[in-house]
């Protein structure tokens, strides 16, 4: 039998039973669509998270107090159960002398009440330096960020997010006004224009103050972390070595801190989300196998219904292999057409989602289209085999009589 005859015969059967064909097409297309949509969500999440990190700069090195490691009973300090030293402003200052360091931003985090003109609300506080603006790649809406003063001492100033401005200052101009933070006062010098989140906090709800003011405000000398921006990625490794050397020396020979590279974190997240996307795609692929089982069931019924036709085909010279091919072609056409329909639907819906949620980039990966198409076709072949085999093995005499 020629290929185009095979396709024509299979197509004519599918057209002859439109309801059955449509149901099977829908089942397969839903499976493929699920793969496309779920992987688009996974990929979108990956893009969003890595984008957030990218915004913070890929040349960023972060020092965090403490270190997760197993220690032995060698050192008397360990035996005494001494807790690691905190990171301090002095630690941050000591890192300034390292070659290749562009900016250093010590970070203190806390929460306190902010008051202005009788209005009060709790606000998250970030204590840092002028460098924080460039490290975080923020932009100012109006006014100025923190002044470039020394780390140890700074004037009592602050910059606030737009929501803080709106809630506490209303229509009046916030810049130049004195804002009370806990038991301290600071003069507002600027409004942050950037939207999004910084260290898990909504930037628009934030108040940023000099680091020395923050340590005084929270009565806590320890830093949340130190962000160091390298001049370029090439010097990052050397900077990390120097940082470890300096901080270890300052911490009495103990490496009780963790240094992480922003790009390494980003790569880790990238990997995690890639695995997550693949896992989502795999879960959705199960629905393709369910669709395959549906195709198998429907085709098994079709074999019973079309016994007489199978008997006739055998009587007029069809070989078992040809009957087999005919049924498998029908299964492949069904699963293939369903997959293409699913791809069209899946990609169309992701486009609609992109327009509806512009901040989240729904991005179905290219592999998802290929894999879902291949899985759908494989499922068609695998689940078409049993009905095809049953049809080809039918006894022509019994088939012609229409008896089971």
């Amino acid at each position: 039998m020629r290929f185009y005859d095979l396709i024509f015969l299979a197509l004519s059967t599918l057209i002859r039973y439109p309801l059955r064909t449509i149901m099977l097409l829908v089942a397969t297309s839903i499976g493929v669509m699920a793969v496309i949509l779920l992987t688009a969500v996974g990929e979108g999440a990956r893009d969003y998270i890595t984008g957030e990190f990218r915004d913070m700069g890929t040349n960023l090195i972060i020092v965090i107090p403490g270190k997760n490691e197993t220690s032995g009973g060698g050192s008397p300090v360990d035996l005494a159960g001494v807790t690691p030293r905190d990171l301090t402003i002095e630690d941050a200052i000591s890192l300034r002398k390292i070659d290749g360091v562009k900016n250093i931003a010590p970070i203190v985090i806390g929460e306190t009440s902010a008051q202005f003109n009788g209005l009060e609300r709790n606000v998250p506080i970030i204590g840092s330096t002028q460098s924080f603006l460039s490290v975080r790649k923020w932009e100012m809406e109006t006014g100025m960020f923190l002044p470039g003063s020394t780390l140890e001492r700074s004037p009592p100033v602050c910059v606030i997010g737009k929501e803080v401005e709106k809630e506490l200052f209303g229509a009046s101009n916030a810049i130049g006004q004195w804002l009370r933070l806990g038991d301290r006062r600071c003069r507002v010098t600027g409004i942050i224009g950037t939207e999004g989140r910084a260290v898990g906090i909504d930037v628009q709800k934030l108040v940023v103050i000099p680091v020395s003011l923050a340590t005084a405000l929270f009565n806590r000398p320890s830093l949340f972390r130190i962000a160091v921006e390298a001049e370029n990625r090439l010097v990052s490794d050397q900077i990390i070595k120097d940082m470890k050397k300096i901080l270890k020396k300052r911490h009495r020979g103990k490496e009780d801190f963790t240094v992480i590279r922003q790009d390494a974190v980003m790569a880790s997240f990238d990997n995690i989300f890639n695995v997550l996307t693949m896992a989502l795609g795999s879960i959705a692929s199960i629905s393709l196998f369910v669709a395959g089982i549906l195709i198998m069931n429907v085709m098994l019924v079709a074999v019973s219904q079309r016994q007489s036709e199978i008997g006739l085909l055998k009587a007029i010279g069809a070989k078992n292999k040809q009957i087999n091919q005919l049924f498998i072609t029908e299964a492949i056409l069904l699963s293939g057409s369903g997959a293409i329909l699913g791809l069209i639907l899946g990609h169309s819906i992701t486009q609609v989602l992109k327009i509806s949620f512009p901040t989240f980039n729904f991005l179905p990966p290219l592999w998802a289209s290929y894999v879902s198409l291949i899985v759908a076709l494989m499922s068609g072949v695998i689940f078409g085999l049993l009905p095809a085999r049953r049809a080809s093995k039918l006894d022509p005499v019994i088939a012609l009589s229409g008896n089971k």
């Binding site: 020629r2 004519s12 059967t13 057209i15 002859r16 036709e309 007029i316 010279g317 070989k319």
Partner: protein
């Protein structure tokens, strides 16, 4: 052309063995017109199925055009069915989703013949059964007699050596039945071996040779 020697066909029904054909011998020469008659269960359909290679004997030999079919596998038998045997059934067995022309074309499709060659043969077959104007009609758009004529056209399109007709007029009114009988008799006159299974005595008497079966045995074999 056809030689059957000591042929038996048994079926197991529960614990019982039913002898549908019991040690029969038969020889049919090219161009013969034979009717096989008998009561229901006498073995005539089983004999026709074996002659058409749709079924295989339990014992004995069936030699068709010098080839012993007992040693053939499924594919070889399918090839013989495709090239040497034509079937006409009581219930027409047309594929409902295909047109008359496409139904007639089907044996050639299975044989892998090129579309251009098929087209020509379909037209010839259609003209044999005087249905050129119904080529594009689906079976549901045709009368019973027309459907059977399409089935006859399909059975001769591969130019077989033998035509096996199983109650070809069983589902037709008398006028259509006569037309169909005349049509297949014309094919026989043109040289085609015709083996007809029928209950109809009148139709059986039209043939050159009448074989009667009872309980799987040939009880009468008369030649005019």
């Amino acid at each position: 052309m056809i030689r059957i020697e000591n042929l038996s066909r048994q079926f197991e029904v529960g614990n019982q063995i039913v002898r549908a054909l019991d040690d029969i011998d038969l020889e049919i020469t090219k161009g013969e017109y034979i009717s096989i008659m008998g009561v229901s269960g006498s073995g005539k359909s089983t004999l026709l199925n074996i002659l058409g290679l749709l079924d295989t004997p339990t014992k004995g030999d069936y030699i068709l055009s010098g080839i012993n079919t007992s040693e053939m596998n499924d594919d070889e038998m399918a090839h013989i069915r495709s090239t040497k045997i034509g079937f006409v059934f009581q219930s027409f067995h047309l594929i409902p989703r295909l047109t008359a022309a496409e139904n007639i074309e089907m044996p050639m499709v299975l044989a892998g013949i090129k579309p251009k060659d098929r087209q020509e043969k379909v037209e010839i077959a259609l003209s044999h059964v005087s249905l050129n104007d119904r080529a594009d009609h689906k079976p549901e758009q045709l009368s019973g007699g027309q459907r059977q004529r399409v089935a006859i056209a399909r059975s001769i399109v591969m130019e077989p050596d033998v035509l096996l007709a199983d109650e070809p007029t069983g589902n037709l009114d008398s006028t259509s039945g006569i037309e169909i009988v005349r049509l297949i008799e014309d094919l026989n006159k043109a040289g085609l071996t015709l083996i007809l299974v029928t209950h109809d005595r009148k139709m059986g008497n039209r043939s050159d040779r009448l074989i009667r079966l009872l309980d799987g045995k040939i009880i009468k074999d008369d030649t005019k």
